[in-house]
Symmetry: C2
């Protein structure tokens, strides 16, 4: 489902060159639920952004669902991303001018065959799942940290994507809510066959997945 071959990612600032990903070769099968762990700064978010086609590698290729996406043009890439991927960002990236409900509906805004009322209904169901029905009309700056995280989660699952990329989805949640979130992901994986890649610093959460991939200094170490 996700195949990374010889992926390199180098960042350059005026003074420092950082090899964020170094010859990464990684395969994730359709329907797998894997966790990615490693020290702060070792390349996990960079890896997820490249898998999610939000950033391009300095070298190497990616294929998603058997398609050589590294060669796609912007429009084709955006289309593919919208149909196939759900992304939970480490810093949420909610739209401050939109209400919680509108934020969650966003992925379905561009999808053919989904009416306004269908979109609203699915957004409300997604918010119900993360316990935020009472916050639909709030704006992101009126929410707690963990509530923002949960809106990001609801937005990532609403489109029933085939692949979910979750960057530390429980970092700002208490253990009870964290369990509910991991269970949402486990269910999507079990009942819908959703392929899930979850970055986490939480060993307990990682142990609930099928495979843990460990990174250190831009390279896979296990």
């Amino acid at each position: 489902m996700i195949q990374l071959s010889n992926i390199e990612k180098v960042y350059r600032t005026k003074t420092i060159e950082t090899i964020a990903l170094n010859k990464v070769n990684l395969g994730i099968n359709k329907g797998e639920f894997v966790a990615i762990m490693g020290p702060s700064g070792c390349g996990k978010s960079t890896l997820l952004n490249i898998m999610g086609l939000l950033d391009s590698p300095t070298a190497g290729t990616i294929s998603l669902d058997g398609q050589a996406v590294t060669s796609f043009g912007d429009k084709k890439l955006a289309n593919f991303r919208n149909k196939k991927l759900g992304f939970i960002f480490q810093s949420y990236h909610l739209i401050n001018d939109l209400s919680v409900l509108d934020n969650v509906e966003l992925p379905l805004l561009y999808r053919d065959g989904v009416s306004g009322s269908e979109r609203r209904k699915r957004a409300m169901e997604a918010l119900e799942k993360v316990g935020l029905s009472a916050r639909m009309k709030h704006y992101p700056n009126q929410l707690s940290g963990g509530q923002r995280q949960r809106v990001a989660i609801a937005r990532a699952i609403i489109g029933d994507p085939e692949i979910i990329l979750a960057d530390e989805p429980t970092g700002n949640l208490d253990s009870v809510m964290g369990e509910e979130v991991i269970n949402i992901l486990l269910n999507l994986n079990k009942t819908d066959g959703t392929t899930i890649v979850m970055v986490t610093h939480d060993e307990h959460m990682a142990n609930k997945t099928q495979r843990i991939i460990r990174f250190f200094d831009g390279q896979q170490v296990n």
Copy 2:
């Protein structure tokens, strides 16, 4: 050191009234290191913002270091905050146009008797403590999530404040780096007598403090 009496905080949106803090009476002694735990959305950040004089309660009074701060004017409040408090925000609030080093130096910019070179030296020491010496010239948007969190931590400790308010300071850190951060806080508490209030979702971290205060739905429950 920190005394909250009958604190109330009510938020109102167009449709919903939220009693974020409900008759909170809380005392924290000089030199204490307490943890605050509770479900996502139960009022922890609101509590810390009020303790840190960043937000005013709807009702009730606060006294910090024996002074009735709720009655201070803006200028006096800002002065008191800058001298006595160090704040680690749940969403970091780094300044995007400033380098990491300049971000960390900020609290000392307004302090009399601290030269530019003294400020630079102390900022580098603080960054050294959180393992970010190699990122001094980076800008916040060139950092990983956990690196941003660590810059926020360095900025909070550089001024040797008497009180540190830490809102989930290890949420985006791996266990090794998280341990280093809690050890920095434990040392400040033990050797400098710094009063520390730390919100955390991590039971393991909370157990390293002297007292755990639990909140639920805006009220203290233990």
